[in-house]
Amino acid sequence: MAVFSILLFTACFRSHPGETDSPGDAIVVEDFRGETLSFSQPPRRIVCLIESALSALYMLGADSLIAGVPQSVYKADLYPWYARLDVRISKREMPAPGNWDFVSLESLAAIKPELVIIWAEQTDVIENIERLGIPVYAVMLHSFEDVHKEIRDLGTITGREERARELLAFTEAQKKTFRRQISGEDRQRAYFMWSQGVLETSGSRSTVEELFQLAGLENVVKNQDEHLVINKETLLSLDPDLIIMWYNEKLDPADVMTEPGFSQMKAIRSKRVYELPSVFACDFWTLKYLNAARMVAQWAYPEAYSQNDSLLSESHLMDSLYQFHLKR
């Protein structure tokens, strides 16, 4: 059923490379700083220094426009995925002039990019890139709507608006399936744990909050901060039903369950500590938040989800988003 729906989806909506809705029209988008960018034609050489935005470009099928990637794609946890997406990455031939925390201006300029995609917080680097006469699309993601805007904008920039619309329509359809499945359930209360530390979490104005809402959970942290550190006492008093860990190289759920002082927490007593298993496949800053939400929902409501297969499995979801079957 799921496989059939993917094939139907891709067959109906498959875009042709280089397709634009209105060829000849100026391409105009506003980035996350509120800066307007305009192009007479899609930039032919894009250096993308944000891994999640790079994912978006591959989802859009803009592979041929990518001329530079962030160094993080060559890290062990991401490389196998990107090697599948791009032969230049698999051969380690794609230039990687920087990352979200550092950019070599000279290496970047040598790629001769027509557009650089970078985090809006990197103001110093942005200033320098723009001084070189290279347009910058700056990104800042605080919500799923921001993720959707990024897809729309990148679709417009690369001349793949139709594919962007397909992806967003697909995402909305998947989200509706979630909502139908969790109706009538008692909401579970969850705590999210970032990899930086046991007490690092996200509050009510974050993609984590939206992820929990999508999966039918309530975030125990009511603070409005996107990223915050709470104290142990507060966490104990919040007493979540389950703990969701972001992918963590240092800690496993078993380590959290034996954390001193945690033993009386409901989530620990019921052994409901779960870790999102992959940085790539569960990335909240891409449409793959659907995959993370699916996992979280299945951990929170195992009975409700065991009887329903309308949510796509990870491999099927990846195939829908990245069109791996076409790349094969």
């Binding site: 925390d101 201006l105 000279e106 040598a110 917080e121 001084r131 990223h227």
Partner: protein, 338 residues
């Protein structure tokens, strides 16, 4: 003979940095801007059409918008820090003194972090203001009965440094991971974001500080003899010392506001140069400026070309500086404090 030796020394002080800077202009991680492409760029600038397969426009961009400001800033920062180190060691009569003794580095780091976290002003301006504020606070602590107590100044530096370090930690604690990473990078000391605007921004305060210390360098000889000796030669010691501290503050804060915290240059370069020139500040000051500039220029060039990921210059200066300093201490015939 003396004139020839003097002329040769001055020529050396000019030629060595010029040669190093020229060499550094041809080296970079991109492979662009080598000898051949520079020749091609010169041909293109003089009106000849560009050969197929070459891109002189890109070469020009890399040379003048990326490498040139970075090389100049590296030289200026290294020189300014070394010279400020010479001045501080002279007026405090202490071989461990450095511009950072007055809490400047922690003040600048806090200022930059504050601006990076909440964006109320450019980080360079904020770093400069807080570095100057740290020095001013040290002064307030050290002034007793309208006199500047040197020991109190040093203790004030430790206290002010502690306060700003605590405030920096607080800003880091409250910052999201993006901003935290940017702050950490800034405090490591790095020149990878140099540009011509930053060069000029740094050049004004640092240039005034450097020029002032070089002009008044002979006074450092008197101040380094001690208060009584300086006073007996007719010098108004508190005013002169205040002036030198002000100039050193300008030189240091102007430099680190743009480059971040680059440690050890201010400490080791004066000691290395003193071994060659002796303790006469008329020679020690200009040679330290040039040597500090050249050292940071070489370190920054290495950090640009070694590996695919740049190691911050501040980290390399610490890694190289510490063993070099130990070596100097062991080999030096001067035994301080005995």
């Amino acid at each position: 003979m003396h004139l020839m030796k003097r002329t040769f020394s001055i020529l050396l002080l000019i030629l060595v940095p010029v040669l190093l800077a020229t060499l550094a202009m041809f080296i970079g991680p991109s492979g662009e801007g080598g000898w051949e492409s520079v020749l091609e760029w010169i041909r293109w600038k003089t009106g000849s059409p560009a050969d197929a397969g070459t891109h002189p426009e890109l070469t020009g961009l890399i040379l003048w918008e990326i490498r040139f400001p970075r090389i100049m800033l590296a030289f200026l920062t290294g020189g300014a820090l070394s010279l400020a180190g010479v001045a501080m060691q002279a007026i405090f009569r202490n071989p461990l003194a450095s511009p950072y003794i007055l809490g400047m580095s922690s003040g600048a780091a806090f200022g930059a972090a504050l601006a990076l976290a909440w964006g109320f002003m450019p980080p360079q301006a904020s770093a400069f203001l807080f570095a100057a504020l740290a020095t001013f606070l040290c002064y307030l602590i050290a002034v007793r009965k309208k006199k500047l107590a040197v020991l109190h100044l040093v203790l004030g530096g430790i206290i002010v440094s502690g306060i700003f370090t605590a405030l920096l930690t607080l800003v880091q604690y409250l910052s999201d991971p993006f901003k935290l990473q940017t702050i950490v990078h800034w405090t490591m000391g790095n020149l990878h974001n140099a540009n011509n605007t930053k060069l000029w921004t740094s050049l004004i305060p640092a240039g005034i500080g450097v020029a002032g210390i070089l002009i008044f360098r002979w006074r450092l000889n008197l101040l380094s003899l001690g208060d009584q000796e300086a006073r007996s030669s007719g010098m108004n010691v508190p005013v002169q010392r205040g002036l030198i501290i002000l100039l050193a503050t300008l030189a240091t804060s102007g430099a680190i506001a743009v480059s971040g915290i680059i440690g050890f240059i201010d400490l080791i370069v004066p000691h290395m140069v003193r071994m060659v020139t002796g303790a006469d500040h008329r020679k020690l000051a200009p040679v330290s400026f040039v040597a500090g500039g050249c050292l940071l220029l070489v370190i920054d060039t290495l950090s640009r070309i070694l590996g695919s990921y740049e190691i911050p210059a501040g980290v390399i200066t610490m890694l190289i500086g510490a063993p070099v300093f130990i070596f100097i201490l062991k080999r030096s015939k001067i035994v301080w404090g005995t």
